[in-house]
């Protein structure tokens, strides 16, 4: 066996989920004792690739070499035996257990009796790697950073030589990140090889020796961190601009329809998901929202539509503060939302109900009496099916039997039916082919021409540049700035998305504040009191 410089080599690795190819012929290697950053947008296949290395998934084709030897990794146990440990983005810890017990579970030959000295043993192992650990502390009482440290100790304990960190800094503060990087450098010195999955460019430049870039499931290139630049990496990550022939109608500007000021919203986990954001939408314009997935888009949508509690800030629609109002009232005011989640069927539609039932799902309270108005429902469903050219055998077909594009059209159709004046649409073309996507763009453009203000949360920057009038960029719940789609570049947006540049404040002027606001500054101040009053009701 020839000695090799590589700890890990991927050769022609492919993996598909159903018809979606998550990884296509990936060739990638990791040198011994280096820190390799794995860079790519969401959905570029980074985590999938790493999950194959850690035995969660098995590749469809291709092979993995560890220390020059071809291996088959069919379980996390196999990966552990090969010295590969992964710290997952969602920690694999048992909340009710102590730190020591979380590690002890995997100890081989630990005997039948659970002895008290396991706490000492774990503490000693941790200190051997240079960590301070309270073995008695229960995970549920730990901070995010402590949990992460515990995960790292766990993989080190089991003899990992190759450590994979999946977006480790996503949940950390700046100080915690700094501490983590110190740990990484220390691990590197002691001969460990590290792969860090991330999409934050500044961190990539700071910590990594080399950077490997994936885009849309394909391997693009590996470059030396020392000789590259953030601009170069962004280009590799987002690709060159593709010219899409999407129509962008120019409409006459109206006054702001929806104004959001200093909005802060929490995520499900209780951390700040939307951080002091201000922006506004005019009638007849499409405002795109660009950002890496999980930057607060979902929480923003839910806050505007009244589905999520607002910490602070104002959402003013046609001169009325919506904060504290119920979702039903907000919807009645003409704000509609269609949100396509990752599994595409999870939100907004009942998969087993028919097309017509889904279309009237939101009207339940408008009908009089206890019976559903079938005739009206049928009429409306037929109209929408015709208008949006939804391909369905009949309006009585369960939604789950339709193809993805048609399902999304049903959802959009239902929201448009109510004649909204503000339409919030998140990932409307998720998982759709080109033709279905264009249909959706046309629908949105028609709404725009009718004077509707559209908030378009998207993934594909090329599409957003072609379709939207303005694009606001979010990064970790913060507004990075609002740019005109015809006066910006993909690279600029890419850099804003990763937090490398911020146009949130240019020349002392805060972005996202309308000059011709419906309120004067004094009235905005008063609105604060108003929102507090309405919160009580």
């Amino acid at each position: 066996m020839a000695a090799t410089d590589y700890a890990i080599e991927f050769r022609d690795i492919s993996k598909s989920f159903g018809s979606v190819a998550a990884n296509k012929n990936i060739n990638l290697n990791l040198k011994k004792g280096e820190i390799l950053a794995l860079l790519g947008e969401n959905g570029s296949g980074k985590t999938t690739l790493m999950n194959m290395l850690s035995g969660i998934y098995t590749p469809d084709s291709g092979s993995i070499f560890v220390d020059g030897k071809k291996v088959v990794i069919s379980s996390p146990d196999d990966a552990g035996k090969l010295g590969i440990g992964m710290v997952h983005q969602h920690f694999k810890l048992i909340e009710k257990f102590t730190a020591a017990d979380n590690i002890w579970i995997g100890k081989k030959g630990s005997g039948l009796v659970l002895k008290k000295d396991r706490y000492k043993q774990i503490e000693q192992i941790a200190s051997k790697f240079g960590f301070e650990l309270d073995p008695y502390k229960v995970v549920a009482n730990m901070s995010v950073s402590e949990k992460q440290t515990l995960e790292i100790i766990k993989v080190l304990c089991y003899g990992a030589k190759v450590i994979i960190l999946d977006e480790p800094t996503a949940v950390l503060t700046v100080q915690e990140t700094k501490k983590l990087f110190d740990v990484c450098r220390k691990m590197k010195e002691s001969g460990h090889s590290i792969i860090i999955i991330t999409h934050k460019l500044n961190e990539v430049m700071e910590i990594s020796d080399r950077v490997a870039v994936l885009r849309k499931g394909e391997y693009i290139d590996t470059v030396e961190s020392a000789t590259t630049s953030e601009l170069k990496l962004t280009e590799l990550m987002v690709g060159r601009k593709v010219d899409l022939k999407i129509e962008r109608a120019v409409m006459e500007k109206t006054k702001p329809l929806l104004e959001v000021r200093d909005l802060s919203v929490n995520s499900d986990e209780g951390s700040l998901a939307v951080d002091n954001m201000s922006f506004y939408i005019r009638g007849g314009e499409i405002l795109g929202v660009a950002g890496i997935a999980g930057s607060g888009q979902k929480e923003l949508c839910e806050a505007i539509t009244g589905l999520r509690k607002v910490n602070s800030g104002k959402i003013v629609h046609k001169g009325v503060n919506l904060v504290g109002k119920s979702a039903k009232k907000i919807s009645a005011a003409g704000i509609a939302m269609s949100f396509i989640p990752e599994d595409r069927l999870g939100m907004g539609l009942a998969p087993s109900l028919s097309v017509s039932d889904n279309i009237i799902l939101k009207d339940y309270s408008d009908t009089k009496g206890i019976f559903v108005d079938r005739k009206k429902a049928k009429q409306e469903a037929t109209d929408i099916v015709k208008m949006l050219e939804i391909a369905t055998p009949s309006i009585e077909t369960p939604v789950r039997r339709l193809s993805g594009g048609n399902v999304q059209k049903v959802l959009l159709g239902r929201e448009i039916k109510a004649n909204p004046n503000v339409l919030i649409t998140a990932y409307p073309v998720r998982g759709l082919d080109i033709n279905s996507s264009y249909m959706i763009y046309n629908i949105l453009n028609e709404q725009k021409k009718k004077g509707v203000g559209i908030l378009f949360i998207g993934e594909d920057l090329d599409v957003m540049l072609a379709l939207c009038d303005k694009i606001m960029v979010m990064c970790h719940g913060k507004l990075q700035g609002v740019v005109h789609a015809d006066r910006t570049t993909k690279e600029q947006i890419g850099l804003m998305m990763t937090g490398a540049i911020s146009l949130a404040e240019v020349g002392g002027k805060k972005a996202g504040i309308a000059k011709d606001s419906a309120f004067t500054e004094e009235e905005w101040e008063e609105a604060t009191d108003m929102s507090e009053g309405s919160n009580e009701t």
Binding site: K92, G106, S110
Partner: protein
């Protein structure tokens, strides 16, 4: 007077013990992260096969072994469906209850009564005699009530204690709890989830079977009538798991509470006549109320304990309960 009190307490124990078996069995199953609603059926199958085999061999050990094995097999079926084939746990559990009770009637009522060996079963029932624990059984009132029972009663308490020790003090117990809390975490540390789940669910189901056998022996082993021996106890056990907050030590106490209400059903009249001053009012309560009491109490207990655990946020319920684990899930 004293005799009635002793008998009352004695009977509470008798009614508690099958619940203790079933509850311990279900706690083991649930700690592995599976919710098996088939307790009733699992107990019925263990009861009928254990009983008939015991009659045939005229031996309690054989009855015990067969009831354990028959119910463990039912547990294996649950595993095959929910672990290997990823079927819905609730549906599988309910099916097991339906089929298990049907098997009981088919084998017991249909075949058992016609088997020649069946006629000899009185010997097995009589053979399970009460053991007087030296010294302790001499204590007035309590001695006769608690320390003069057959071996199956003591076995149930021993199992409850052992299961608790197993979960809290052994590495295997720790790993099983880990699976019930977060199978992904256990998996990433190389714990063989499938093996652990199979073994523990089968063992837990086997213990439920012994509970079923005990009920059969208590009924004198007659298959007559349209009631199954288990008579809803399996369902009460599922509620008791929650009441006991997933601890077999708590289950000892919890089952005793339920045994009390069950005994009241039978002993309300003797109590009323023996203590007319204090408990005379019991005789004026309709009998149906006493029959319904254990189930009403079950309902109340479930409501109260779920409100309590939600408020305190300190439920011992396994976090991953009822969710099938599939590694490649995204």
């Amino acid at each position: 007077m004293i005799e009635v009190l002793t008998l009352f307490l004695f009977n509470i124990v008798i009614y508690s013990i099958p619940l203790l078996y079933a509850t311990c069995g279900e706690i083991i199953v649930e700690k592995s992260g599976s919710l098996n609603l088939g307790v009733e059926g699992t107990m019925a199958v263990g009861a009928v096969f254990g009983f008939l085999a015991g009659c045939r061999a005229d031996s309690l050990p054989v009855a015990l072994l067969v009831s354990f094995a028959a119910s463990a097999l039912v547990g294996a079926i649950f595993c095959i469906f929910t672990i290997s084939l990823q079927a819905n746990q609730n549906v599988t559990g309910l099916t097991i209850t339906t089929i298990g009770v049907a098997v009981y009637f088919f084998v017991g009522n249909g075949l058992g009564a016609n088997w020649p060996v069946y006629r000899d079963c009185t010997r097995l029932v009589a053979g399970v005699s009460d053991l007087n624990i030296p010294l302790l059984s001499k204590i007035p009132v309590i001695g006769k009530a608690f320390f003069s029972h057959n071996i199956l009663v003591y076995l149930a308490v021993i199992i409850a204690v052992l299961v608790w020790v197993y979960f809290e003090k052994t590495s295997f117990g720790l790993r099983l709890r880990a699976i019930g809390e977060n199978p992904g975490a256990a998996d990433s540390l190389g714990v063989n989830i499938v093996l652990y789940k199979y073994l523990h669910i089968m063992a837990g189901s086997g213990i439920m079977g012994i509970g079923g056998l005990y009920m059969g022996l208590n009924m004198g082993g007659t298959f007559e009538g349209s009631n199954c021996w288990i008579n809803g106890y399996g369902w009460i056990a599922i509620a008791l798991v929650i009441f006991a907050n997933w601890s077999t030590m708590h289950a000892i106490l919890g089952t005793f509470v339920f045994g009390f209400f069950n005994t009241l059903r039978i002993y309300n009249m003797p109590l009323a006549t023996t203590f007319p001053k204090t408990m005379g009012w019991l005789s004026s309560v309709p009998a149906q109320v006493f029959s319904a009491l254990p189930f009403i109490v079950t309902l109340l207990v479930l409501v109260i304990s779920s409100i309590k655990s939600r408020k305190s946020g300190r439920s011992n319920a396994p976090t991953a309960i009822g969710v099938n684990y599939y590694r490649e899930d995204r």
